[in-house]
């Protein structure tokens, strides 16, 4: 009898903590936010029912569009730079001929252990003008026009144009966090530093799972290293690639802490660092309009769902083709 009771209810007992937690902290807020998005909330208590006016206003709000633009640019940069870089590092560190690869793996992964908050604060110092590590290094490498070598002069001019340096300004004066055109590159650089090692771990695990016999067979067939990579490695790690791409996309679309901390609790010059979640936070928790913030949240959720769906469908279609 006791055994039967156990086998019937034990499973419910064990899933109960998750179900209860999800219902309280997941399901209820989702329903509540949907209801809230139909109101304009003002001040701590007042709210007025406005139907779908918040959703309509989102579509006309120039700040929301700027936030979407910035977020999409950030996500694309992350996808196009971080993931190939992570894969390249993983392939390099998977080589059996590389000495000290375990140490190198740790070195690449270690920025992730540092944590986002600390890394952001650290990078505010690294990106600082005049005395920041990055600018001091650039100044040491590229020097001033009077002291430059011919090779330095060749790359100096286009680079100066790229970072917006004026005549008379030195490399110490690059305004990474002070110029609207450089905020996004600075964010992407920090994101690369933080996330490459983390994604590398996924790729490394996938690479180690690829059957070595396939490489031997390819070698016998006369395939060179590049052909082996394209025809053996990539198909072998494809499921992990899809997983990492989806995870990275969702993470990038939800980016908030990174620019918020790096730009000292602001959207940066000309709102160049304004992201969707940051705009949601500003409206909900600074201005106090939880209704509008909820509407923004729903746009974001639907957007992420669509992105993920497209990616899954595309990868499924590719798998079928393969």
């Amino acid at each position: 009898m006791w055994h039967r009771v156990q086998s019937t209810y034990a499973a419910y007992l064990f899933v109960a903590p998750f179900v209860v937690t999800f219902a309280v902290f997941g399901l209820y807020p989702i329903i509540k936010s949907l209801l809230l998005s139909l109101y304009i909330t003002a001040g701590p208590r007042a709210q007025v029912f406005v139907g779908f006016a918040n959703f309509a206003f989102v579509l006309t709000d120039p700040d929301f569009y700027q936030a979407v633009r910035n977020t999409v640019v950030f996500a694309l940069c992350n996808l196009c730079l971080q993931l190939p870089l992570a894969l390249a590092v993983a392939v390099a560190l998977n080589s059996r001929r590389l000495k000290g690869r375990n140490v190198l793996r740790f070195v690449f992964f270690s920025p992730y252990l540092m944590g986002l908050v600390f890394a952001s604060i650290l990078f505010t110092l690294i990106f600082a003008e005049n005395f920041g590590l990055l600018n001091v290094t650039l100044d040491a490498l590229l020097g001033t026009p009077q002291t430059q070598h011919i090779l330095q002069r060749l790359i100096d001019l286009p680079l100066r144009w790229l970072v917006g340096l004026q005549p008379g300004e030195t490399w110490r004066q690059v305004r990474w966090l002070g110029a609207s055109t450089l905020v996004m590159p600075a964010l992407v650089m920090l994101s690369l530093w933080l996330g490459t090692g983390f994604n590398m771990i996924y790729f490394l695990a996938a690479l180690q799972a690829v059957n070595r016999d396939l490489y031997d067979a390819a070698q016998v067939d006369g395939a060179n290293r590049w052909q082996q990579f394209v025809h053996v490695t990539l198909p072998g790690i494809k499921p992990v690639c899809v997983f990492v791409v989806i995870l990275s996309t969702i993470g990038s679309l939800r980016v908030f802490e990174l620019p918020w901390l790096l730009l000292r609790n602001s959207a940066g010059p000309d709102q160049a660092g304004l992201t969707i979640v940051m705009y949601l936070y500003q409206n909900g928790f600074i201005v106090g309009d939880l209704g509008y913030a909820s509407a923004i949240g729903w746009f974001l959720a639907v957007g992420i769902f669509c992105f993920a769906l497209i990616q899954v469908r595309l990868s499924g279609a590719m798998q079928q083709e393969a």
Partner: protein, 519 residues
């Protein structure tokens, strides 16, 4: 049961976490000829715990930890009132001041230091959820307005105006009349005053006296202005034109700049806007960011930060206070806008240049008939929250003590250099001497900076609060950054038209958000 068997069972439970260990153990049992005990134990466990020992232990640990946490709640001090402040220097000052109040009145106060970003969030969440809120709370001026968005009868702070008018001194003067009236506008909404101003925050210019004095001859030769030992620069550099001319002499592009101005956010722009008599909103709450004053301010400021080497005398110095201290200490920046609170922090963090710094009133704009020589930067209000069924009298008594009690004001000025908004404290002979406003301060080259700030304080420009102030500052910052970027790329060509358009656009965007507010 044999003593060794207890130990053995404990070892089994421990080893159960690790499958490999269990396997090894089983082999060991065979070798030790004791496999039956483990099997019996394992069978018994499986009988009652079908998911094994490890999940059961995890469940047990969770339950024990949960029960422990639930049964030992964090003990909060039992006090009659609770006070939240977000500034560490305020916290320090009130902590020292409150024991005297408790001894005198018998009212106990639980003083809490809350993170500046968390104050508004926690407060709003507590109001919304109907949880206990502090009786008194300090809110930063930019955030204060967000509490005034709703209908007047739902604003969670009491109207302090009656209290300010009824509280009178021996001469019959009300507290309202004895304070800087310009300061109330920031915390007022629809004719009611929701916040007691903590400060006035007049602004001067802090500068590296030693470096400017060292270039006396060059400055004299190139501008005709004799700065002497630079200890009284305010008398020599009366207009911004003079200041900029001296700046052009002292600035070495890439190595040294006369002034710190930020062209990526609104912070510097807004101080200069107030000095000229402009504001983000007028008394009726209408947007004035697109005013001619705002346009003139930006047209003047941008070439100083983003112009050609011949025009430029300013740098943003990294855009943070920590970075500013570093730039000043190294002589990269010679001068910066300095409210009274920043003077206190400068003394704290720039000890390397003690005795080499000095303060001067702001130069006035040549086209300003008022010859305004100060502005105001920052601010904090103290609000008394509406508590159902409770009289705010006790909270008002606390507010009066921490904001107007003389020993508290003295401590506040000595530790933070923050000038109180109570005018008696500046001019009353007993008050000023007691607080130490006239004392020369060695850090500032012997200048009596308390007196210097007090002389300017009554002339601070009026600023108007708004539920949309934070938004307006963000929009203004975007225009400042865009203007700087434009000027760096195109110079003066089309600059005025560009700035005018951007200001109008920013104002329209703020109005768009304001129109959504149905209250």
């Amino acid at each position: 049961m044999h003593k060794g068997k207890y130990l053995y069972r404990i070892t089994c439970i421990y080893k159960a976490f690790d499958v490999n260990q269990v396997k090894k153990r089983r082999v060991l049992h065979v070798a030790d000829d004791q496999p039956s005990t483990w099997d019996a134990f394992n069978d018994a466990v499986t009988e009652f715990l079908p998911f094994g020992v490890a999940p059961a232990l995890l469940l047990l640990v969770t339950l024990v930890a949960g029960i422990y946490v639930a049964s030992t709640p964090v003990k909060r001090p039992q006090a009659d009132l609770q006070l939240w402040t977000f500034a560490s220097n305020h916290h320090k000052s009130y902590k020292a001041a409150l024991p005297a109040f408790v001894a005198r009145s018998g009212i106990t106060v639980d003083l809490q230091h809350v993170n500046p970003n968390a104050v508004t969030r926690k407060l709003r969440a507590a109001f919304r959820a109907g949880l206990k809120v502090p009786d008194l709370v300090e809110v930063e001026n930019t955030r204060a307005g967000t509490f005034f968005r709703g209908p007047v009868d739902e604003i969670p702070f009491i109207d302090l105006k009656p209290y300010l008018l009824q509280t009178k001194n021996a001469q019959g003067q009300s507290l309202y009349d004895r304070m800087v009236n310009n300061r109330f506008a920031l915390y007022s909404h629809k004719g009611r005053i929701y916040g007691l101003p903590h400060d006035v925050h007049p602004v001067m210019i802090a500068y590296r006296r030693d470096i400017i004095a060292a270039h006396r001859d060059r400055i004299l030769a190139e501008t005709g202005l004799d700065v002497g030992d630079a200890s009284n620069l305010g008398a020599v550099l009366q207009t911004w034109e003079d200041f900029v001319n001296v700046g052009r002499v002292l600035t070495i592009p890439g190595q040294r700049y006369m002034f710190q101005l930020d062209d990526s956010v609104s912070s510097s722009f807004e101080l200069l806007l107030y000095q000229r008599g402009g504001d983000f909103f007028d008394a009726a709450g209408r947007v004035t960011l697109n005013s001619e004053i705002a346009l003139k301010t930006l047209l003047w400021l941008t070439p100083l930060t983003s112009g050609t080497p011949a025009e430029r005398i300013a740098d943003r110095a990294g855009g943070s206070r920590t970075s500013l201290y570093q730039h000043v200490a190294k002589g990269f920046i010679l001068a910066y806008l300095c409210p009274d609170w920043l003077a206190g922090l400068t003394e704290l963090y720039l000890q390397d240049v003690a005795g080499k710094m000095a303060l001067m009133p702001l130069p006035y704009f040549p086209d300003d008939a008022r010859r305004q020589r100060t502005t105001t930067g920052g601010g904090t209000m103290l609000g008394i929250t509406i508590q159902p069924g409770r009289s705010p009298a006790q909270a008002w008594a606390v507010a009066q003590h921490i904001y107007f009690d003389l020993p508290s004001l003295k401590k506040q000025f000595q530790e933070t250099r923050i000038l109180p908004p109570l005018k008696d404290a500046w001019h009353g002979p007993d008050h000023a001497a007691y607080i130490g406003l006239d004392e020369p301060i060695a850090f500032w080259s012997g200048q009596p900076i308390g007196r210097m700030f007090a002389d300017l304080a009554d002339a601070i420009p009026q600023r108007h609060g708004s539920p949309f102030l934070q938004l307006a500052k963000g929009k203004a910052g975007a225009v400042v950054a865009a203007a700087a970027a434009y000027y760096r790329q195109h110079g003066r060509e089309g600059f005025e038209a560009f700035v005018r358009t951007r200001l109008q656009q920013a104002a329209a965007e703020i109005e768009l958000q304001m129109r959504r507010n149905p209250f």
